[in-house]
């Protein structure tokens, strides 16, 4: 017999909420490492949520091991699967963060500079795209230079952006 009590413990619900909230906050960061921690926290929160949804705890879910009501075994199986999947993806993101650090010296998640370039051109009212060869070349340069968030104070972001702008207008 499986435990049918579906009133979840308040403590667990609060823990789920706290884990997911912290995770979402970290997910909004620019640094991939922090985002990774955020994803791990959300993952743990959701796993706990699944466990809570399985009802109150009981005896181990093995037939014949106890006369008491059993825990629901299905959420445990689901959580186990979810943990394994999260583990794999965590490893992948770590590898990506390392690769990003290898290539650029930071693990910041950058915006798409292509969108910015198109928006900037629209602002200047340029219609003939073929004349903007200079700006296109600068887009590659900008992608290498621009940081969306300054974390090193000695690497000023705004001037870099200005110079590329001038380059585009020339």
């Amino acid at each position: 017999m499986i435990v049918t009590d579906h009133t979840p413990s308040l403590v667990l619900v609060i823990v789920v909420g706290a884990l997911v909230a912290t995770g979402v906050y970290l997910l909004l960061e620019r640094s991939l490492t922090r985002v990774l921690i955020g994803i791990a926290l959300i993952g743990n929160g959701v796993n706990l949520l699944i466990l809570v949804m399985g009802g109150a705890a009981g005896a181990p879910p093995l037939i014949g091991s106890s006369d008491e009501p059993m825990s629901d075994p299905l959420p445990q199986a689901l959580v186990l699967t979810a943990i394994v999947i999260t583990l794999g993806f965590t490893a992948f993101i770590l590898a990506m963060a390392y690769r990003s650090w290898q290539l650029t010296g930071h693990d910041e998640i950058q915006d798409d500079v292509e969108d910015r370039r198109i928006a900037r051109r629209a602002e200047r009212g340029e219609l003939d795209l073929r004349s903007d060869e200079e700006g296109r070349r600068n887009a590659a340069l900008e992608a290498a230079q621009v940081r969306d968030e300054t974390e090193d104070d000695d690497l000023p972001t705004t001037p870099a952006r200005d110079t590329t702008d001038e380059g585009g207008e020339r």
Partner: protein, 540 residues
């Protein structure tokens, strides 16, 4: 018709086994290619067989003989069979293209990317996509999504270049977020109903409090909406797809968003037939179509332009789902099949353009029509097909959708019809702009003198031919889509074929083998639907 149930798991099992084999022979690229081509050819054959078998009623396999609500059921109904067939054609075509590209890259460039990982990953992707189509269990769909995601993460960052890592990061995080939302939805649904088998959920959900139902429906839609790139949740797609290698972009554009659309169709039709969010979906369809296509108009890179048209045309499919009528759904299913092939074809051709012109930037391309007339034709046909020029299949799908919208006859439905027409027109505008710049206008600087390898060209042409043949075979295909849609709205064929014995599926569980077998016989005799469905009874 006797059903060969042993076919059902093959589209998942064969690619997975082949992936293992391909990984074993990582040092021998030619053998790897043979393994993956033969695996996907087998899957294609199985998919064709399943298409005909599923016409006689859904095929259900209870994995490991555990009966449905306890174990996992694999269900191939008409919709799943059609999706399997189209996806296996596309997967095979793109594989041929990428093998040809790999061979040519090896021959004339110094790029030594870790290609050995491509084949195993690609096969895992194929297995995941097939699993998502045939799964009859919500959590198994989640697992299928994760298989697809895991493979797609590797493929999108293939080679680990700077630009791919940048765009890949965004793709990875957004995808993981959508999975987490889906997982939360699963947890909540389990809490509310105590089951995750789709068929049983369809029976139990109506008893759940309507407000809770709405929450569950919204959570599922959110999770799938990110995957399908529906407007407010679509910003990640045009950013991350274009940087991947051409064949990878092609297969992602063709299949991954459609897996999301498939999941939406399945869950909306089977689990939440009330249509309480239909108006929301209609508004989202309008926004997806218009915002997507306006983005495409603004782009000056061929791959990015195509990515935006991809987002925009997801709106059409959403339109049909939101109408939830037989006509609308049939048109959506037909449109999905059309769009998978056409979008894949266009991205493959964009890859050819990149090979020939050295870039996909419309600012630098030009005079391709003169340099390579064959390439021009291969681009022109699917491009017109995408924008819905009669008599091509894009036109047929759109006519079906517009017909369904006018049948609905509400102001909102008329608004979507209008938006659909505008989108179609703007698609034509964007495509013609690309055509003018890349093919007709003279190039600002002479393009490099490269030859596109014949084999790549042949692979791309074959996908274009498939997309054109959808027009030729539109009659039988549309009829099939119509009966698939009728199954979806009726719901009972699916439910009764999974849960043969009232509340239990066929198979053995809890050691009451004899009981369930007896019950299965009587159920087959009495229930009409179970009789026509002719489920797993023959197998045991």
């Amino acid at each position: 018709m006797t059903q060969s149930l042993w076919l059902v798991p093959l589209p998942v099992v064969v690619p997975l086994v082949a992936a293992g084999l391909a990984l074993t022979f990582a040092r021998r690229p030619r053998l790897q290619a043979v393994i993956s081509v033969s695996a996907l050819t087998i899957v294609l054959g199985v998919a064709i067989a399943l298409l005909f078998q599923a016409d006689g009623g859904p095929l259900v396999v209870n994995v490991g003989e555990w009966s449905a609500p306890v174990g996992i059921a694999l269900v191939v109904d008409r919709l799943a069979a059609l999706m399997l067939l189209v996806s296996s054609i596309v997967l095979l075509g793109v594989l041929a293209y990428s093998i040809a590209q790999g061979a040519s890259d090896e021959a004339n460039t110094d790029e030594k990317a870790p290609i050995s990982v491509f084949h195993p990953t690609y096969l895992v992707l194929a297995a995941g996509v097939a699993d998502a189509f045939i799964s009859g269990d919500l959590f198994n769909i989640y697992v299928a999504f994760e298989i697809v995601l895991g493979a797609s993460f590797v493929l999108i960052t293939l080679g680990g270049t700077r630009e791919r890592i940048r765009s890949g990061t965004i793709y990875v995080i957004v995808s993981l977020l959508s999975s987490v939302i889906f997982l939360v939805a699963i947890a909540l649904i389990y809490g509310a109903t105590g089951t995750l088998t789709l068929a049983q959920l369809a029976e139990r959900l109506p008893a759940v409090d309507p407000t809770t139902q709405l929450v569950l429906q919204t959570m599922l839609l959110l999770g799938f909406g990110i995957k399908a790139a529906i407007f407010p949740l679509s910003a990640w797609l045009p950013d991350s797809y274009p940087t991947a290698p051409a064949p990878v972009t092609a297969v992602f554009a063709g299949l991954l968003t459609k897996v999301g659309i498939y999941a939406i169709i399945r869950t909306q039709m089977l689990l939440f037939p009330g249509g309480r969010l239909d108006d929301v979906l209609l508004v989202l369809a309008i926004l997806t179509m218009l915002v997507g296509i306006l983005g495409a108009v603004a782009q000056d890179d061929l791959k990015r332009l195509l990515s935006f048209t991809l987002v925009s045309h997801i709106g059409y499919m959403l339109f049909g789902i939101a109408l939830a009528s037989d006509v609308g759904l049939a048109a959506t299913i037909f449109y999905v099949a059309h769009h998978i092939t056409v979008q894949t074809a266009l991205f493959l051709v964009a890859g050819l353009v990149e090979q020939r012109g050295g870039t996909t930037s419309l600012d630098r391309l030009g005079s391709l029509a003169k340099l390579s007339p064959a390439l021009a034709i291969v681009f022109f046909v699917p491009a017109l097909n995408l924008s819905g020029i009669p008599p091509l299949s894009g036109f047929l799908g759109k006519v079906g959708l517009l017909q369904a919208g006018i049948d609905r006859a509400t102001p909102l439905a008329y608004a979507v019809v209008a938006a659909g027409l505008v989108t179609s027109l703007l698609t034509l505008y964007a495509i013609v702009k690309a055509w003018n710049k890349a093919f007709w206008q003279p190039a600002p600087e002479p393009l490099p003198d490269v030859r596109t390898p014949r084999s790549m060209f042949a692979a791309a042409t074959s996908i274009v031919a498939v997309s054109v043949s959808i027009t030729v075979f539109a009659g039988p295909l549309y009829a099939y889509a119509e009966s698939a849609a009728a199954d979806l709205t009726a719901r009972s064929p699916y439910i009764s074929s999974v849960l043969v014995n009232g509340d239990r599926g066929d198979g053995v569980s809890d050691g009451d083998a004899s009981d369930s077998a007896d019950a299965s016989d009587s159920a087959d005799g009495t229930a009409d639907d179970a009789g026509t469905a002719g489920t797993g009874g023959e197998d045991s």
